[in-house]
């Protein structure tokens, strides 16, 4: 039965609303659930939500219009998104999309007239090592092939619910190819937290029962453990793994030292940078370690509330993550009385809904509060006034996992790995033209060449380090090292071989940023569109040297004047490409000098449609 014809959605919406507090902060979570239920947000739901949460309808509509995975029109019984990262393209996602659409009889971006299915592109879904990938009703389908598409079409035609599709369709591999000191073995839940609480005690203390040692009444270890663990964090010199590399200990101490009735610990699992998928693997196989790192942080800073903000693309991990949290509560590692110490901390999961900007910490906090993911003003920093204006530590998934190991093994141990200014190890997400794509753990300081050798990518022409917002590295630079001393990175490592046209890479990235700009500030909102139009003009063979200057000028303007990191880094790949792969641009330019962007023939299209003509005489 098509859900498009659900006659009275009110009753179902009311049932959903009953399960949520009348807290405006729940708006996005409610919209996500409603979208999953109806495959759109019905108009009736907008009014009910507004009344239930005491917000305006315009506010609700504002969210529906902002997040990519929310829609105010019905998207079909089967909602298919094709991942459109450059790595998916290199694996043939465009052919797959075309084939799927033709088999289904649906136009890309439209819903089939019977309301059965829609197919559209989406930004990178984090399956770059096993693409081309898609999402079908929220579930990831990896390794798309013609055979797989044929079977999908059969199931859709037969109205087989996605829950009854073969499991192999949805199989997501870890592809953990190389582990080093942090992820060599499975993590034993509770060990890091206990170590943190006992930290600084003498050896005899460790011999006695843990419960006695941290008894709040005796006060032996309680406060000291937190202070000593913070010292270990300083000794570790652990820097944030989200890319910016801010020292975690400084953030934690700042948060701890601000007087406030409540504090938050937020784990950033938005992982929207195309080509990045380490957080997916950590949350699949090391969730305990991540949650334990958050709990250690909460213990150090004195936070009672934790939030895992995770991107919608990883919805398939929901049951698993909730089970891990439930198990930790049962084991006394979360909840009102952690390990019998009387200390209370718990973690809630907040789902994103398709917005790269929400990986930026202040935009994420807005999203957690149930708003459009718009970055906040620069000051105050989230660590001073974050979620609900409370001091908030926001760290990346990998940072918390590393923090758990610092708590367990100490800062000196941690700092013994990596380089002087980039301690510990780093996960790299290797994808693109190589024999063994997947996750690689290396101590900081590893060279590009070493990773290429290990992953079987020595034919590389270029490597995009840190995603589209990062740096393009060419062959003569392959001895450069991944560390804050040289190339800072979130861990994204996309390989392009000699067959690849680097202009196509640029075109994919440029459109990604145009799609993901939040629209707040002028330079990013307009600049990303101007850049996409200019790149498309060059792609159409109509580029002139003036256009390349124009790209430079807009890029520079965005770097200087954009409000947040998204707009400031969005042109990085263009600036690199124009220097390092100018030939790939120039071979497309048919003329030199000025060529107008205005296309006289294209502008006649409306007239052609109105008159129903498409003959030769109707074209210039």
């Amino acid at each position: 039965m098509s859900q498009a014809v659900t006659p009275h959605p009110q009753e179902t919406v009311r049932q959903i609303l009953q399960r949520y507090d009348r807290d405006p902060g729940e708006l996005l979570q409610l919209l996500v659930e409603i979208q999953h239920t109806f495959h759109y947000v019905p108009e009736e739901a907008v009014s009910l939500l507004a009344d239930h949460l005491r917000v305006t309808r315009a506010h609700v509509r504002g969210l529906v219009g902002f997040y990519s995975f929310l829609s105010d029109t019905f998207l079909g019984d089967y909602v298919i998104y094709i991942s459109d990262n450059i790595t998916d393209r290199m694996l043939g996602n465009q052919d797959m999309a075309k084939y799927l659409c033709s088999r289904l009889g649906v136009k890309l971006g439209k819903v089939r007239s019977d309301g059965r299915v829609s197919v559209q592109y989406t930004s990178c879904t984090g399956m770059c090592d096993q693409g081309p990938a898609a999402l079908v009703n929220g579930m990831p389908v990896t390794r798309l092939s013609r055979e797989r598409v044929d079977r999908m079409v059969e199931f859709i035609t037969a109205r087989t619910p996605v829950t009854a599709w073969p499991e192999e369709f949805f199989q997501v591999e870890d592809n953990f190819r190389r582990s080093d000191v942090l992820f060599r073995r499975a993590f034993d839940p509770g060990t890091a937290l206990k170590a943190a609480m006992l930290r600084g005690g003498d050896e005899t203390l460790k011999e006695i029962q843990f419960e006695e040692a941290v008894d709040p009444a005796s006060g032996i270890a309680w406060k000291r453990g937190a202070d000593e663990t913070l010292k270990e964090m300083y000794r570790s010199d652990l820097r944030g793994r989200g890319g910016a590399g801010f020292k975690a200990a400084i953030k934690w101490e700042t948060c701890r030292d601000i007087s406030a009735p409540e504090r938050y610990v937020v784990c950033n699992a938005d992982e929207g940078e195309p080509g990045t998928f380490k957080d997916r693997v950590l949350l699949s196989s090391y969730a305990d370690m991540v949650f334990e790192g958050m709990t250690v942080c909460a213990y150090v800073v004195g936070a009672g509330r934790g939030i895992l903000y995770i991107r919608q693309e990883y919805w398939y991990l929901k049951t698993h993550l909730e089970a891990v949290l439930a198990r930790r509560r049962e084991a006394g590692l979360l909840g009102k009385n952690i390990l019998g110490t009387g200390y209370a901390f718990d973690i809630a999961i907040h789902w994103g809904a398709g917005a790269y900007i929400c990986g930026m910490e202040s935009a994420m906090i807005e999203s957690i509060e149930g708003k459009r993911g718009k970055p906040r003003k620069r000051w105050p920093l989230p660590v001073v006034a974050g979620v609900e204006k409370r001091p908030t530590v926001v760290n990346n998934v990998e940072t918390f996992a590393a923090a758990a190991m610092v708590a367990l093994k100490g800062g000196v141990w941690f700092a013994g790995h990596g380089t002087m200014h980039s301690t510990g190890t780093k996960l790299f997400c290797v994808s693109g033209d190589c024999e063994r794509p997947g996750i690689y753990e290396y101590p900081f300081g590893v060279s590009i060449r070493e990773i290429l050798r290990d992953c079987g990518g020595l034919d590389a022409r270029a490597v995009q380090v840190s995603g589209p917002s990062g740096t393009t590295i060419t062959r003569p630079e392959f001895d450069r090292v991944l560390a804050y001393e040289d190339l800072a990175t979130v861990g994204t490592f996309m390989v392009f071989n000699h067959e690849r046209d680097m202009f196509e890479v640029v075109q994919n990235f440029t459109h990604f940023f145009q799609h993901e700009s939040c629209g707040l500030c002028t330079p990013c909102r307009v600049g990303t569109s101007l850049l996409a139009n200019l790149v498309d003009k060059v792609a159409a063979g109509k580029g002139s040297p003036l256009d390349l200057e124009e790209v430079q000028k807009i890029s520079q303007l965005m770097k200087t004047t954009a409000h947040c990191g998204l707009g400031q880094t969005a042109p990085n790949h263009l600036i690199d490409s124009l220097v390092k792969f100018r030939g790939d641009w120039e071979k497309r330019m048919m003329v030199t000098g000025f060529v107008p962007a205005f296309d006289l023939d294209a502008s006649l299209e409306e007239a052609r449609q109105l008159t129903g003509r498409d003959d030769v005489a109707a074209h210039l």
Binding site: A58, G62, R378, W379, T528, S529, T561
Partner: protein, 246 residues
């Protein structure tokens, strides 16, 4: 030189006094130094979205409307590079919407137009986007012409914080961002807005207009016919400061 008890910073080589908690922008304007801006109105919370007020503070760019003044900092604002960037930002605003000054009722009272004159804009430079945006003329007294909107968010802020009605919000994302109206139909006529609302008075462009007031003030006698925006805005800012802080 200012007395030692007064804190100051340097703006384009000039010493600017400031009060604790004042932004670079507010301090500069109080001291008579104009910084071009569109989304900021000192009576309301800053938004730092138009980015025209970007200045270089100790070598790094910041929006001056949200950047706190700090004693001794070196600020650059009136440089050829920044003037050029402001010019380009203004051109961007012109091409992303549909702005036709000669036929616009706001002409002469429009901050976008006046700022373009101030920055010496000769043309829009970039190809026009010609977006298709909905016009809302449903209300008896107010018109919302989204074609002329520059997304400064003033109506959103003022309706929320001053009128306490939250009539306006934004939806869409990126280049598709638009103003939405809070009412069941999404139309102004079904909303709580009135012609007396503060939110309707502060639109810097012609996106929110009062009907029936069209040419009450003739062309030639309008705000920026009398004084360029740099002069007018500094004078108003200083008058406001004098009124509030004596």
């Amino acid at each position: 030189m200012c007395p030692d008890s007064i804190k100051t910073f340097f703006l384009d080589g000039r010493e600017i006094p400031f009060r604790e908690g004042q932004s670079v922008f507010d301090a500069a304007m109080t001291a008579g130094a104009f910084i071009p801006h569109l989304c900021h109105n000192p009576d309301y919370e800053p938004h730092s979205s138009c980015r025209l007020c970007t200045v270089i503070v100790n070598g790094r760019p910041f929006a001056s409307c949200t950047q706190p003044a700090v004693a001794g900092q070196m600020v650059q604002s009136d440089t050829p590079e920044l003037r050029e960037m402001r010019r380009v930002l203004t051109q961007m605003l012109f091409v992303e919407g549909n702005h036709y000054c000669p036929s616009c009722e706001k002409s002469g009272n429009c901050k976008l137009q006046a700022t373009a004159y101030d920055l010496g804009l000769q043309d829009n430079h970039f190809p026009q986007f010609f977006p298709k945006r909905e016009l809302d003329a449903s209300h008896a007294e107010i018109i919302l012409d989204r074609d002329r909107c520059i997304l400064c968010g003033l109506c959103v802020r003022v309706s929320r914080d001053v009128d306490k009605k939250s009539v306006f919000a934004m939806t869409g994302r990126g280049i598709h961002t638009v103003i939405v109206v809070d009412s069941p139909s999404g139309l102004l006529k079904d909303s709580k807005v009135t012609a007396q609302d503060e939110a309707v008075q502060h639109c810097p462009v012609g996106a929110l207009l009062l009907k029936g007031k069209g040419f009450d003030v003739p062309i030639g006698e309008r705000i920026y016919d009398k004084a360029p925006i740099a002069e007018d805005s500094v004078a108003k800012f200083q008058a406001r400061e004098a009124h509030i802080h004596g």
